[in-house]
């Protein structure tokens, strides 16, 4: 409230008091500027710049949040990237050593042990965490994504591991006769290879047959589903027939193309040739008559087919079983061979495993692995987001683990070593998985993705820190008092106040009273 007081003495002295007040207030202001370093303690004190300063503060706070995000994202992508590089190194190291060492007994043990060690290491990497947060678990950051490596390989009392699945699948694919669920029959001059049954999920599938030479006629009959009718039509499995219509000349050949359980193809070629031509050498003997030739062909085919299946199916079955095992996720357990009818070798159907009877290796985020990056978006700006989520069940990791697993479950020192070709076929399957050929994207591609993400996050963090500095500078320019200016103003005001005191005191002392 303003007190109006007029008529009390000379205006000069009253105005002097007012100007002392004003100067003192100014003096206090400059003093507080010097001690706090701020122009004013309230937004209103900043005047028209106040709202600008508020806006800058808000911008700085937003940018700092983004900077925190960027630094966090950089650290996480670096950790993930480093893990991926190690995974890649594990895979390529094992893959490159596969051919040289395998033919020796010591080599076999080395490969199996290395594969097992690498598998364990890979599981550890996929289970790595930062703080309380698992890096390869998608959105389920508090769940360890991968179970123990020994459990994955060997299972426990109730649940089957990958080893059991490979065994079952191999038996189912080989069949009781060891012919890969194929049958061989001959009638007249025709030798026919048929699948055991139409739509059988196991075994070798006939993809085609071709023959060269005038005396050989090849016919491929695709499988056909039956119909319940009426009229009832039985299902017919695919078959490949070779009819010896004349006498083939030396070098004429029949070539079968088979699709193996893991989806790869294999070919079996029998050429007409000289003795022994027993099939084991990939030839059949030319007989005197087409019937004799046909009989020779059948016999040779029996041997050759047996060898072909023995050499190729175990590797392919192991690869298929391992792929299936690692394709499982919490909502989708791996498929199992239906052994309810007795032996696995005679199984005719696939059943879904359950969490109770089969190890489900991956426990993390059940979202689609292809969307793994999006499970952890890091916001680096108002419109810039990078995905740095990862899931252990992404295709490259699955392939890598399958590659390690098929080797790790092998017997390191079998009493009867398997044929070399069989081992090589297995190694081949392992190699394509370890190098990421089966998954399309290799682990090293993902490592590149994350190092790119780290680069983006780092660049953003740097840009943000510059932006924050600029904002801070602008804000400081508004809010901070220049100490030199404040000090010089303080001295100026002090001088003025002293001068005012001096003059006022002189003037007020100057009264006629003294001179009377």
């Amino acid at each position: 409230m303003t007190v109006i007081a007029y008529g009390n003495g000379p205006t000069a002295s009253r105005l002097a008091v007012q100007s002392f007040d004003r100067l003192r207030t100014q003096l206090n202001g400059f003093q507080s500027q010097l001690s706090t370093g701020k122009v004013a303690t309230t937004v209103a004190g900043l005047g028209i710049q106040g709202s600008v300063s508020l806006g800058l503060g808000s911008t700085a706070s937003r940018l700092e949040a983004y900077q925190g995000n960027a630094q966090d994202a950089s650290l996480r992508s670096q950790l993930i990237g480093t893990g991926l590089q190690q995974l890649d190194a594990l895979g390529s190291k094992l893959a490159s050593g596969l051919t040289d060492t395998v033919n020796l007994p010591i080599g076999r043990k080395y490969v199996v042990d290395t594969a097992r060690g690498s598998f364990e290491q890979a599981v550890d990497i996929l289970n790595s965490s930062l703080g309380d947060r698992y890096l390869f678990s998608g959105r389920a950051t508090d769940t360890r994504p991968v179970l123990d490596s020994d459990l994955l390989l060997n299972g426990d009392a109730q649940r089957a591991g990958v080893k059991t699945l490979i065994d079952e699948r191999t038996q189912a694919d080989l069949g009781t006769a060891g012919l890969g669920r194929l049958t061989l029959a001959s009638a007249g001059t025709t030798t026919t290879v048929s699948e055991e049954a139409y739509g059988l999920p196991f075994g070798v599938k006939i993809a085609g047959i071709a023959a060269t030479g005038a005396g050989l006629a090849a016919t491929f009959t695709a499988g056909a589903a039956g119909s319940a009718g009426p009229p009832a039509v039985p299902a017919t499995p695919a078959s490949a027939a070779i009819d010896v219509t004349g006498t083939p000349v030396d070098g004429d050949a029949v070539t079968y193309t088979f699709t193996l359980p893991d989806g790869t193809t294999g070919t079996l070629t029998l050429s007409a040739g000289a003795a022994p031509a027993d099939g084991a050498d990939g030839a059949f003997a030319i007989g005197a008559t087409p019937a004799a030739t046909s009989a020779n062909l059948t016999a040779a085919l029996q041997t050759a087919l047996q060898t072909f299946v023995t050499n190729t199916v175990p590797g392919a079955s192991a690869a298929k079983a391992a792929d299936d095992f690692f394709a499982a996720r919490p909502g989708a357990p791996p498929p199992r061979v239906d052994t309810s009818g007795g032996s696995a070798a005679a199984a005719t159907a696939i059943v879904s495993g359950t969490a109770a009877n089969t190890v489900i290796w991956y426990q993390g985020d059940d979202g689609p692995p292809s969307a793994a990056r999006g499970t952890n978006p890091a916001r680096l700006g108002d419109n810039q987001t990078i995905g740095i989520g990862a899931q252990a069940n992404e295709a490259p990791f699955r392939a890598l683990l399958a590659g390690f697993a098929v080797l790790a479950v092998q017997d390191p020192a079998p009493a009867t070593p398997p044929p070399d070709d069989q081992t090589l076929a297995l190694l081949d399957r392992a190699r394509t998985r370890l190098t990421g050929q089966t998954s399309g994207t290799a682990v090293r591609d993902l490592a590149g993705e994350f190092s790119l993400a780290k680069g983006t996050a780092d660049a953003a963090a740097q840009q943000l820190s510059q932006a924050i500095k600029h904002v801070g500078d602008s804000q400081a320019a508004i809010e901070n008092a220049d100490p030199t200016e404040a000090a010089s103003k303080l001295i100026q005001t002090q001088t003025r106040l002293q001068a005012a005191y001096q003059t006022t005191s002189t003037i007020l002392r100057l009264s006629l009273v003294d001179y009377l």
Binding site: M1, T2, V3, I4, A5, Y6, G7, N8, G9, P10, T11, R14, L15, Q18, T36, K38, A40, T41, T42, V43, A44, L46, G47, G50, S51, L54, G55, G57, S58, S61, R62, E64, A65, Y66, G68, N69, D72, A73, G131, D132, R133, S137, G138, R139, A140, T141, D142, T143, D365, T375, N376, P377, A378, R379, D382, E479, S511, L512, V513, L516
Partner: protein, 615 residues
């Protein structure tokens, strides 16, 4: 000229000097007295017949410029107004922006947004979750305490009006007593002491009210405000009374209807005993009372409305979702098609928006759910774009009301809680869309929206219109959902199966916080235009608005003080006592006295000489 007349003249001169000295001594003695005006003694040559016979003392006159005095009172009323407003707003601004930003509303709003943003980046982290909860609690309590500050400032204004009214009554009594003194002593109308005393009282009055003084005969005055309130009719004062209310809360406001009034009003009772509400008539336009009334009824409620709207915008932005109606195809033989909507999703205050088209004319009507007819009326906007619907009569009655509002081209029906709105099937009219604005009430309902901020007692903020709006005073009641405080994982977990690192909910919350959140135009943040923006920018706007208000009031007050000072200076120059002048006067009077005494002595000598001649 005779010797005796010489002596007589000298004696009158001595008397005049004596009177002059008297005035000087009074002036010097009262040099520091507030309200004292300098006086000068007035003398006149004394003439007897045609002969001058000396000097007569007419008395002492006040040196006073009436126009200047009027201006001074006007400006002091202005200064009373600006000073009161500036002080109150500066206090309020300090509450909004304590110690340069740290802990201010803007700071806490930004901090909350940052915390949720960090949570979106790392949803599974326990410490990130707890700091988000802490930031939310801080923001809510800041809104609570600011609302409290605003209401405290209103209460201060109320108390000060009360004190001012008491003081004004005291002053009016003083003026009445002075008036009585004038009447008791006939001819005292120019008595400078009485006049000064009375004027000082009027001057004091002028800091409270904008007074207009009309002088009457023989020192009498009548006093009224420029708004026409007669305060003193020359004989009797008007008695002012104020019914102070305490404590004030957000829902208590001024109304010209005394039954609806939640705050005090000034009642003037004149000499005849007639009473009237001064505030309703707008009879006080300036002075500190006008400032406090304006603060209590306009400025502070507006600040409160800004806080309430921010709190409501914040709560609704995080918890509300839009639910589209289900299209209903035409079922032969009928050709009428439209939409259906389950009304059970709506809470009081939630809305259902129906878009229709008749020919080329599109229309969008928003129906707001209300629990009573009164609330429905309160929810209805004057332009008809928002219609409150009383749901208390069940779905069928709701359908009837909506059908009536939509017009004859449309048919609304209800089955169970499902409302169905169909067109007439002719093809000219069609229902183009039905969508509900629904508040999510639970924490893990499967909706990523989160009722993080709730009303007192944990109820969700739905913008209901029951028993006064939920909006009014919401900033005083806003609190963080107890369920979230007890279990911060609900910041991330929106259903029982949500993975702990799922960024869906925090990302949605960040998006909602970055806005736009809209504050309606009635809060005066930007004239009458609604303001939209992120939470942080709106909080900034509110703090900046307070700062600007405080600054404007301070600038106005500074300017007013300069004007008042200038008028005061001029007034003081004229009416104030200058000791130097007085002492100069004193010397002159001393000399004059001496000279008169000398003349008297000379007269005596002349008489002595004459007497010696006779002896």
């Amino acid at each position: 000229m005779t010797i005796s007349s010489l002596i007589q003249t000298a004696t009158s001169g001595l008397r005049a000097s004596q009177a002059g000295l008297d005035v000087v001594s009074q002036n010097v003695a009262n040099a520091g007295t507030v309200g004292y005006t300098r006086r000068v003694s007035v003398t006149q040559e004394l003439i007897s017949g045609t002969q001058p016979t000396g000097v007569a003392v007419l008395g002492a006159n006040r040196v006073l410029d009436g126009i200047l005095q009027k201006q001074l009172r006007l400006e002091s009323a202005g200064a009373g107004y600006t000073g009161a407003k500036a002080n109150a707003l500066a206090d309020l601004e300090r509450a909004f922006d304590p110690s340069g930003g740290t802990g201010s509303l803007a700071d806490l709003a930004n901090g909350f947004t940052s915390a949720i943003s960090s949570l979106a980046n790392d949803p599974g982290n326990y410490s990130t979750r707890s700091s988000a909860v802490t930031a939310a609690v801080n923001l809510a309590s800041s809104l609570n305490s600011l609302s409290d500050s605003v209401q405290t400032a209103r209460q201060n204004a109320e108390d000060r009006i009360d004190a001012a009214v008491t003081d004004v009554n005291g002053i009016l009594d003083g003026i009445t007593a002075a008036g009585a003194a004038f009447r008791a002593n006939v001819g005292s109308g120019s008595n400078p002491a009485l006049l000064d005393q009375r004027d000082a009282l009027i001057d004091r009055l002028s800091t409270y009210l904008d007074v207009k003084v009309t002088p009457g005969a023989d020192g009498a005055v009548s006093i009224s405000t420029t708004g026409g309130l007669l305060l003193f009719d020359g004989v009797n004062p008007t008695t002012l009374s104020f019914d102070r209310h305490a404590p004030l809360s957000t829902d208590l406001a001024y109304s010209t209807d005394p039954t609806k009034r939640g705050v005090g009003s000034i009642t003037a009772t004149d000499a005849l005993g007639k009473s009237r509400d001064v505030l309703a008539l707008g009879q006080i336009r300036s002075g500190s009372i006008a400032a406090y009334v304006e603060l209590r009824d306009d400025v502070l409620p507006q600040a409160q409305a800004q806080l309430d709207s921010l709190a409501a915008g914040l709560a609704a932005a995080l918890s509300d979702k839009d639910v589209a109606g289900t299209a209903v195809p035409a079922v032969a033989p009928s050709t009428a098609s439209g939409f259906s909507f389950d009304l059970s999703q709506l809470a009081n205050g939630n809305s259902l928006t129906v878009s229709t088209k008749v020919g080329a004319t599109a229309r969008t009507v928003t129906f707001v759910k209300a629990g009573s007819a009164a609330a429905a009326a309160a929810a209805t906007s004057p332009d008809g774009s928002r219609i409150g619907i009383d749901f208390s009569g069940g779905a069928a009655s709701v359908a009837t009301k909506i059908g009536t509002a939509l017009g004859t081209n449309f048919a609304a029906s209800a089955s169970g809680t499902t409302l169905q709105i169909l067109d007439d099937g002719t093809g000219t009219a069609s229902v183009t869309g039905v969508s509900g604005h629904v508040s999510v009430a639970g924490l893990t309902t499967g909706d990523p929206e989160l009722p993080l901020f709730v009303d007192q007692g944990g109820g969700p903020y739905t913008g209901s219109f029951e028993n006064g709006t939920q909006l009014s005073g919401f900033s005083a009641r806003i609190t963080v959902n107890g369920g979230v405080v007890a279990d911060p994982s609900t910041l991330v977990r929106y259903s029982s199966t949500t993975l702990s690192g799922d960024p869906t909910r925090p990302t949605l919350l960040v998006g909602r916080l970055n806005g736009p959140i809209t504050i309606p135009g009635t809060t005066g943040l930007n004239g009458n235009v609604p303001v939209s923006g992120s939470l942080g920018s709106l909080a900034n706007r509110i703090v900046a608005a307070q700062a600007a208000g405080a600054n404007d009031a301070k600038n106005l007050d500074d300017g007013q003080k300069v004007v008042l000072n200038a008028v005061q200076s001029r007034f003081t120059d004229q009416s104030g006592v200058n000791i130097d002048n007085e002492l100069t006067q004193l010397i002159q009077l001393q000399t004059a006295y001496g000279a008169n005494a000398r003349v008297l002595a000379a007269g005596k000598e002349l008489l002595d000489t004459l007497l010696r001649i006779g002896a």
